[in-house]
């Protein structure tokens, strides 16, 4: 009976292992495919620790299963005692020393990999000394605002130049958030009253998803973000366009999607907040600006720190899309 149960357990574990492996393309067996040297280094650390830990697990649980099978009572009465062994100093010293050595190896590896983190890792000295793109990330309930060196602004969608050093300054003016794009590296908290910095370099083109990782309130789960890595020319063009008057409507649209729509719905139909489609307030530009700046009732002061440009862009977008009579041309 006891043997039958063990066989059953083995089958169950095997089935679990197989199913797991079956839908694991990159099914969560490692951090996502890295798109920056930082994420790459972190993945190396993961693989090393995984290898060591799997080894330890097999050793310990192997011994456990072996002893369970080998030394089961097999009908011996409870009175039958095993050998009265109280300890073995050398053995105990050995299994104290071995973990110390293993952990020292892991720590040394971590320190070595950490020394190679940052925007310039792997770059020749000439490029490494070039100025970094400085982007400020401001976490808000419940959106990310990005400010680029020339004053351009985007919401929830961060644009990055391919293979150029970037330095992020991460701040918050309400509650704590945590900035995290798994493919680009680890997370860093946005904590009110602090300015946190991190540097990295995106080495893959494409769009990489992420989301806020520190509980920030009711819509924490909706505080998603993505990083778009663009060829350098395209990135420069985009930053210039966004900062110019021509980029205003796009900014308004992005702000609406990132800020307003999370509570009021993508078509302004209302959700957590009331419906804004054809709301009479849309006709009152000054009143709208006051509410966005200061909040009202349950609505937080989402636009407290916005530039006049961003405020105007948002109001323009709102009126164009949701104001009665404000059709296409606005």
């Amino acid at each position: 009976m006891a043997r039958f149960r063990r066989v059953l357990l083995c089958v169950a574990l095997l089935a679990l292992g197989v199913t797991t492996a079956a839908f694991a393309g990159n099914g969560g067996l490692a951090p996502p495919a890295p798109a920056s040297p930082n994420a790459d280094n972190i993945r190396d650390i993961y693989w090393l620790i995984l290898a060591i830990c799997v080894g330890i697990f097999v050793l310990v649980v192997g011994a456990l299963v072996l002893f369970i099978i080998r030394y089961r009572s097999r009908g011996r009465p409870r009175e039958a005692e095993g050998p009265q062994v109280h300890g073995a100093t050398n053995l105990e010293l050995a299994w104290t020393a071995a973990p110390v050595i293993i952990l020292a190896v892991i720590s040394a590896f971590v320190f070595w990999k950490v020394s190679d983190l940052g925007a310039t890792s792997g770059l020749p000295a000439s490029e490494a000394n070039a100025a970094k793109q400085e982007v400020t990330i401001d976490g808000h309930q419940y959106y990310w605002e990005f400010v680029y060196p020339n004053g351009a602004i985007s919401v929830d969608k961060l644009r990055l130049p391919f293979d150029k050093p970037v330095r992020l300054t991460i701040v918050s003016h309400d509650v704590a958030h945590s900035w995290w794009i798994p493919a680009l590296g680890g997370k860093l908290d946005a904590i009110p009253g602090r300015r946190n910095h991190t540097s990295f370099r995106a080495t893959k083109l494409g769009t990489f998803p992420g989301q806020c990782a520190e509980l920030c309130g009711l819509l924490h789960a909706e505080m998603r973000a993505e990083a778009k890595v663009l060829p350098v020319d395209e990135y420069r063009a985009w930053v210039q366009h966004r900062a110019s008057p021509a980029g205003r409507l796009e900014l308004g649209k992005e702000t609406f999607t990132g800020v307003c729509a999370k509570c009021h719905g993508l078509s302004g139909q209302g959700d957590v907040g009331p419906s804004i489609a054809s709301n009479p307030l849309l006709g009152n530009g000054a009143g709208l600006a006051t509410i966005i700046r200061n909040g009202t009732g349950k609505m937080p002061a989402v636009g407290q720190d916005w530039s006049q440009n961003q405020l105007n862009a948002t109001i323009a977008y709102l009126r164009q899309h949701f104001h009665q009579g404000g059709s296409g041309g606005g």
């Binding site: 490692a30 697990f57 062994v85």
Partner: protein
């Protein structure tokens, strides 16, 4: 060291009060208080478990609307707070209450009335927490850690958080009084011959449990008081806009919060150190190493708190320091596991339910310990922090660790406490369901974390593997719940009708098996002189020699 068995006066617990119910309300008998503690914490375990099942139901599929956003935040806040403050910590206070005086040959705890006060404070602390469902704005919803500024008035003006603070304040007082009681009892009331190095290992673990509580609970009280003042009096300890520091709370909270993890697991280690030798029919391997490793774990647990804060932007050298101190803790923990393994070596292993939970504990706790090494390596923690990887880790440690040892302890001492044997068949079925369900629930969470699923999100929109892992986890939680249900059925069924238990059904090593099952109010008529850590085995041998 003036530990003497003869107490100078009749303990309050020996003044037997009449009345079937009123005697329980007025009792100061450590055994009855222990039962009250354990029973209450198990009721809260059911409550916390139901909250967990609701969480898993909400996460079973993407874009689910089984509960509201706010309802979800309330669920995980109450689940975490319940399991930590109302289940595991008080369960150990209850089991310790029942066993420590018996194991050291004393008649009662050192301060029986203070002991009763601890229990009633615990009960009312729990009631206060659960009353928050009816407060304006509902239950607290800032997570069991309740970081400001989110938990501060501008963002959570309703009263859930205030009741959460009040409840934890009351529970802190309860634990503090209980911990002082344990320390005095263990230091002063040991029976003649029971030196420190002859003390049962469970008593050793309760000593470290109590010492840690005394050391770190004031820190929690301080943090909670500052938060309360911020919310109600208009101070701004944690509001940066007014010159406060939001990070201060995290330091204060985790200085308490990490030792709290060991407060929850050390008594469990103690249980395992009692169960494994008895069911292997061998002495514990490396008694001294196990006892001292508990002390080492207790000490180092106070030096690792910032590993919960690797992503807040600490200086590099601080992150390095906290990585190394966190890894050092793995060494004494490893020593314990190797010693338990060595104890089973060449034994005569009996697979009664307590032993199944003890062996199962080793297997799953190893996973929880190893994933701890991952998150201690701080660059990797930048990826794993606040994701389901960490959720998996804490549940392997707290469910696979603490709760498995709770089940092992309950089934091991059940015959002593109630004088009845549990049903072995039901016990084994419930073990396998809990063991399999636990792994199916929590193992996929590692993968979800690596895929990028943060904790505390009420829903997700990714299908594919995200959905598969979440669904698997939800199914596992159902299997686990079934196992736990059977465990409770077993307890209820056998409490009155189970087979009568003899004084020492497992042929134990320690003094509690010397007295009757259940023990009389005064515990012992006489206590044998203790000349080794295994007085009962010594006694059995002497009796056998006398017969021969």
């Amino acid at each position: 060291m003036a530990a003497r068995a003869e107490l100078p006066r009749t303990p309050a617990s020996l003044i037997v009060s009449r009345g079937r119910y009123s005697s329980w309300l007025t009792t100061s008998d450590h055994k009855r208080i222990g039962i009250l503690y354990m029973a209450t914490s198990l009721v809260f375990f059911i409550a916390g478990g139901i909250l967990a099942l609701l969480i898993r139901a909400q996460l079973a599929t993407p874009n689910e609307h089984f509960v509201t956003r706010n309802g979800y935040n309330e669920l995980f806040t109450m689940h975490g707070t319940t399991m930590i403050f109302l289940v595991i910590v008080p369960f150990w206070a209850g089991l310790g209450n029942y066993l420590v005086p018996l194991m050291i040959g004393a008649r009662d705890m050192a301060f029986p009335r203070l002991n009763a006060l601890s229990y009633w404070l615990f009960l009312f602390g729990g009631i206060i927490l659960y009353s928050s469902w009816f407060a304006k704005g509902g239950a607290p919803s800032a997570g069991w850690t309740s970081y400001p500024p989110l938990s501060d008035v501008p963002y959570m003006p309703d009263h859930g958080i205030d009741l959460w603070i009040l409840s934890l304040h009351v529970l802190t007082l309860a634990s503090l009084a209980g911990a002082i009681n344990f320390l005095v009892t263990i230091h002063r009331l040991r029976t003649p011959g029971m030196t420190w190095m002859r003390m049962p290992l469970f008593v050793w673990s309760m000593e470290v449990y109590a010492a840690l509580l005394v050391a770190v609970l004031p820190m929690l009280s301080a943090g909670l008081t500052m938060l309360l003042l911020d919310r109600q009096v208009g101070t701004h300890f944690f509001l940066p806009a007014e010159g406060g520091n939001a990070l201060l709370y995290q330091h204060v909270f985790w200085f308490f919060g990490h030792p709290e993890v060991y407060i929850m697991i050390l008594p469990g280690f103690g249980v395992i150190s009692e169960v494994i030798p008895v069911f292997s029919r061998k002495p514990i391997f490396g008694y001294t190493a196990i006892a001292l490793s508990s002390v080492a774990i207790g000490f180092y647990s106070m030096l690792v708190w910032a590993h919960h804060m690797f992503t807040v932007g600490l200086q590099g050298y601080l992150q390095g320091f906290f990585m190394i101190s966190s890894m050092i803790i793995a060494v004494p923990t490893g020593i314990k596991i190797f010693n338990w393994l060595a104890t089973t070596w060449r034994g005569n292993i009996h697979f009664d339910t307590p032993m199944l939970f003890a062996l199962g504990f080793i297997a799953v706790f190893v996973i929880g310990g190893l994933s701890g090494i991952f998150v201690a390596a701080y660059p990797f923690d930048w990826q794993a922090q606040d994701t389901y990887f960490v959720v998996a880790h804490i549940h392997y440690v707290l469910f696979g660790g603490s709760m498995f040892t709770v089940f092992a302890g309950l089934t091991y001492w059940w015959p002593k406490i109630f004088g009845r044997m549990l049903d072995e068949r039901l016990g084994k079925i419930s073990f396998w369901l809990i063991f399999i369900g636990m792994n199916v629930t929590f193992f996929p969470m590692h993968m979800l974390g690596l895929l990028g699923m943060p904790r505390r999100i009420y829903t997700y929109s990714n299908g594919g593997v995200w959905e598969w892992y979440n669904l698997t986890s939800t199914i596992g939680s159902g299997v686990m719940a079934l196992g736990i249900l059977l465990f409770f059925v077993n307890m209820l069924k056998t409490a009155r009708s189970g087979a009568r238990a003899v004084n020492d059904p497992w042929l134990g090593d320690t003094l509690e098996w010397y007295t009757t099952s259940p023990p009389p109010p005064h515990n012992f008529d006489s206590v044998p002189y203790v000349s080794s850590p295994r007085p009962l085995r010594d006694l059995r041998r002497r009796l056998a020699e006398a017969r021969a």
